[in-house]
């Protein structure tokens, strides 16, 4: 019987499949859900059973796979254990080899992936390695089969050779440990049932490391209980002497032994900095990394605004012209074109939901940028750089993770604060998360920026994100100095993945999954709110209009929102329309845009006879304009680096709606519409988050802190927007 052992991903299964071919069957290990693969291999006239053990990094009995592998080697006693080792990761793989050598002498090391090792310029002294380990080492490349015949010839030879009675594993621990092992071995050999059941040295080592599995196995055997007691006393004595756990001590000595061995037997060409190292020299530099991060965010926002603009225009055309027109035509067939139902469909649902759907391309490009950053491995580098800055500001570096999550959605970011050690850190981070501009706020920025800053959309949006981070860091710094005195920040080790080319499949999947979340939210929350807003807009309050036939400024919605509007006058956007959008934004930030689309009511113009081309002609035109929008999007890509291939400036917001909003802001700000628009964006960035975030905060931070957070955010938002507008009036006048 031959057992195949090894770390995961060393080619063990490749070897197993090459040897057994179709002569294998798969089941489960008894009592476990771990897969067991067994096959047959013939060497001449001799039939061998080959068992493919689960891949494990060690045999420390922390997982079912480790227990299975270990118990099989010790109890089933295969004739040969072939340990498959990755030649390019020798230092890690040899740990398992050492542990197996302490269980059985019938071991062959299969040094696999020699082709990769050669490509990397590694030169391994095979004979030296074999000599130091005391067992055969066979180099091979399982993928091509090179070396496999030699491996199996060696296996057959070892299997048929005489059993080794006393085999000393290659590693000798420090003297006090060896003395303890020797005393335990002596006690084991004094009890035949113990000595016959398990390799003496291995059992001694396991008992010394307080292995409960072994203790349970021998407890019922003669001498078992006494042996466990002896081992316990030896362990206490050694731990008192070395002031560390005995298993940490033994592991430390194993790793040190392996490290010395690897230094002796491996020669490789000198490793100069790789391309990845050169990129990381910039990406992970405190200053260079920050600049690179800002530059990448610039590109992402450029994609979301300018490159997405042609599709934004197309969706507006499709929803607010084509769809709205033909829905009305359809309603006209059943004589409902002038009814309240038609108003509900066009002024309620289409205006509200359509107003947000227009920005789907914006979000898709944002999600694409985020997916590329993650899939390429860059996001981990950004986290590393930001961690350093946060520590300088007295913030827990680990807080960066929930804060980064907040750029997608604040709700899971609040829950992610649970990963922080202390209550103080969780509270502080939870209070800062709402300042992270979630993706739902992006449509608001793009809408306002497209209206008032058409040539500076990208910088305007980027400024909002940076402002949110700046406010969060500033508030965090102040809270650290006052309410939340600094606790010790623990050191952080970050696993930075290797750079890789993002795959189209992964990026597309991430992009579509996130967009779907947005669309399904639009189909539920936004539609529901749009209907409620339409209802309130349809109810007249002056007694002179009919239901669903009242001017919006005479509606119940306007009356309610109008109560709040004076609060926003000092901020430059004090009218009921803007106030209503901010009120409904409490439900979900995406609703701000849909509310603006509804309250800045832009009557749909029915096409004249010369413009009414018929359904199919208009559908064909819509399809053609889609392809034109696609072409324009591709032409807009070089615009990221300043190369303008577009024929004309693409509008970023629906023209009629944009003009209506512009006029509204101009009126409320005394002719300073752009300043008021920017002030509005600042308010949306900083004011209270959506009710789902508030609910999550209440759950994680408690009611008192949530109330404090909501109140302080409203205050900060009002003050910031006030500062922007009033200071802007002074400096720009």
């Amino acid at each position: 019987m031959i057992a195949l052992a090894g770390n995961p991903n060393t080619g063990k299964t490749t070897i197993f499949n090459r040897l057994t071919g179709a002569r294998q069957h798969t089941g489960n290990w008894p009592g476990k859900t771990v897969e067991k693969k067994e096959g047959t291999w013939w060497h001449g006239e001799t039939r061998f059973r080959i068992i493919d053990l689960p891949g494990t990094y060690s045999l420390s009995a922390f997982s079912a796979e480790e227990v299975i592998a270990r118990d099989f080697i010790v109890e089933a006693r295969p004739d040969v254990v072939i340990v498959v080792v990755d030649a390019t990761n020798l230092e890690r793989n040899l740990y398992l080899v050492l542990q197996i050598l302490e269980m059985t002498p019938a071991v062959i090391v299969a040094l696999n992936m020699m082709d990769v090792a050669r490509d990397q310029g590694l030169q391994i002294d095979i004979d030296g390695l074999s000599q130091r380990l005391g067992v055969p080492v066979v180099p091979l490349t399982a993928r091509t089969g090179e070396g496999l015949p030699q491996l199996m010839a060696t296996a057959a030879q070892v299997a048929s050779g005489p059993p080794t009675t006393r085999f000393l594993p290659p590693i000798r621990y420090s003297r006090p440990i060896e003395e303890a092992i020797a005393r335990l071995e002596e006690a084991i050999r004094a009890h035949p049932q113990l000595a016959q059941g398990y390799p003496a040295r291995w059992l001694a080592l396991q008992l010394l490391q307080d292995d409960t599995f072994c203790q349970e196995k021998i407890a019922h055997l003669p001498g078992g209980v006494a042996l466990c007691q002896q081992a316990r006393e030896a362990r206490i004595s050694l731990e008192a002497r070395y002031r560390t756990d005995i298993d940490a001590l033994i592991a430390e000595e194993r790793y040190a032994w392996i490290h010395r061995l690897v230094q002796e037997v491996i020669r490789g060409r000198p490793q100069g900095p790789t391309l990845s190292d050169r990129v990381d020299a910039v990406a992970m530099h405190p200053v260079g990394g920050l600049i690179l991060f800002l530059a990448i965010m610039w590109v992402v926002f450029k994609l979301s605004t300018d490159v997405a603009a042609p599709f934004v225009a197309w969706i507006d055309l499709f929803v607010n012209r084509f769809l709205a027109h033909w829905v009305l035509e359809g309603l006209a067939l059943v004589h409902l074109e002038s009814s309240w139902f038609a108003s509900l469909i066009t002024d309620g649902i289409l205006a509200g939901v359509g107003g947000v759907l227009v920005f789907v391309p914006v979000l898709m490009f944002l999600y694409m940028g985020m997916a590329i950053m993650e899939d390429s491995g860059y996001m981990a580098r950004a986290a590393f750089v930001m961690d350093g800055y946060m520590r300088h500001l007295g913030l827990q570096g680990k807080s960066f993770v929930p804060l980064v999550l907040g750029f997608g959605c604040n709700v899971p970011a609040i829950y992610a604060t649970r990963t922080l050690d202390s209550r103080t850190d969780r509270l502080l981070t939870g209070l800062l998360v709402p300042f992270m501009s979630c993706s739902a706020r992006l449509p608001v920025y793009v809408l306002i920026a497209s209206i008032f800053f058409p040539h500076f959309r990208t910088p305007a949006v980027l400024v909002m994100y940076l402002l949110g981070v700046l406010v969060a860091l500033t508030v965090g710094f102040l809270l650290r100095k006052t309410l939340f005195k600094r606790s010790e920040t623990s050191a952080l080790l970050i696993e930075v993945p290797a750079y890789r080319l993002p795959t189209i499949k992964n990026v597309w999947m991430e992009m579509t999954l996130r967009t779907r979340a947005f669309l399904e939210g639009a189909a539920t929350i936004i539609m529901a709110v749009s209907i409620v807003i339409w209802l309130f807009l349809a109810i007249p309050v002056n007694g002179q209009s009919a239901f669903a036939d009242t001017p919006v400024e005479h509606s119940a919605f306007a009356a309610v929102a109008g109560v709040m509007s004076p609060l926003f006058k000092p901020l430059g956007f004090g009218n009921w329309q803007n106030a209503s959008a901010l009120i409904t934004g409490f439900i979900a930030k995406e609703v701000v845009v849909s509310t603006l689309a509804q309250v800045y009511h832009v009557p749909q113009e029915s096409p004249g006879p010369e413009e009414d081309l018929g359904f199919w002609a208009e559908a064909r035109l819509a399809a053609i304009s889609f392809f034109r929008a696609t072409a324009d999007t591709l032409k807009a890509i070089p615009g990221i680096v300043g190369i303008d291939l577009l024929d004309e400036e693409e509008p970023g917001a629906p023209p009629a709606l944009g003009e209506a909003i512009r006029q509204g802001f101009e009126q409320t700000s005394g002719g300073r519409g752009a300043l008021a628009g920017f002030s509005f964006m600042v308010f949306v960035l900083l004011y209270t988050p959506c009710m789902a975030t508030v609910a999550a905060m209440r759950q994680e931070l408690g009611g008192r802190w949530t109330l404090l957070s909501v109140g302080s955010q409203l205050t900060i938002a009002w003050l910031a927007a006030f500062l922007v507008f009033q200071a802007g009036k002074i400096f720009l006048s």
Binding site: A251, L405, A517, A695
Partner: protein, 90 residues
């Protein structure tokens, strides 16, 4: 070597990457991963893959996010996946 990992983290003035630590200690990065996993099992290092704490996003699903086929809290599509981090346990 194993204890050197803890020492380096205790005395570090800022975050470290596995690669930086492997170069400091002169060990292969893959071997270092094995040593780190040892300390994670011993409870001396705590691993944080960003998913912890996202296991009870009841509110998220019911109110703000309309995603009916949510892949689960740990795989929320609206979150960025943070890098795996290890820190000394308190």
């Amino acid at each position: 070597m194993l204890h050197a990992i803890l020492h380096e983290l205790q005395t570090a003035s800022g975050p470290l990457t596995l690669r930086q630590l492997s170069r400091k200690l002169g060990v292969q990065e893959s071997a270092l991963e094995g040593m780190i996993q040892f300390w994670v099992r011993k409870g001396r290092l705590v691993v944080d893959d960003g998913a912890g704490g996202l296991s009870e996003m009841r509110v998220c699903h019911s109110i703000a996010c309309g995603l009916r086929a949510c892949p689960g809290p740990g795989a929320c599509p609206l979150t960025l996946k943070p890098p795996i981090r290890f820190h000394l346990s308190s």
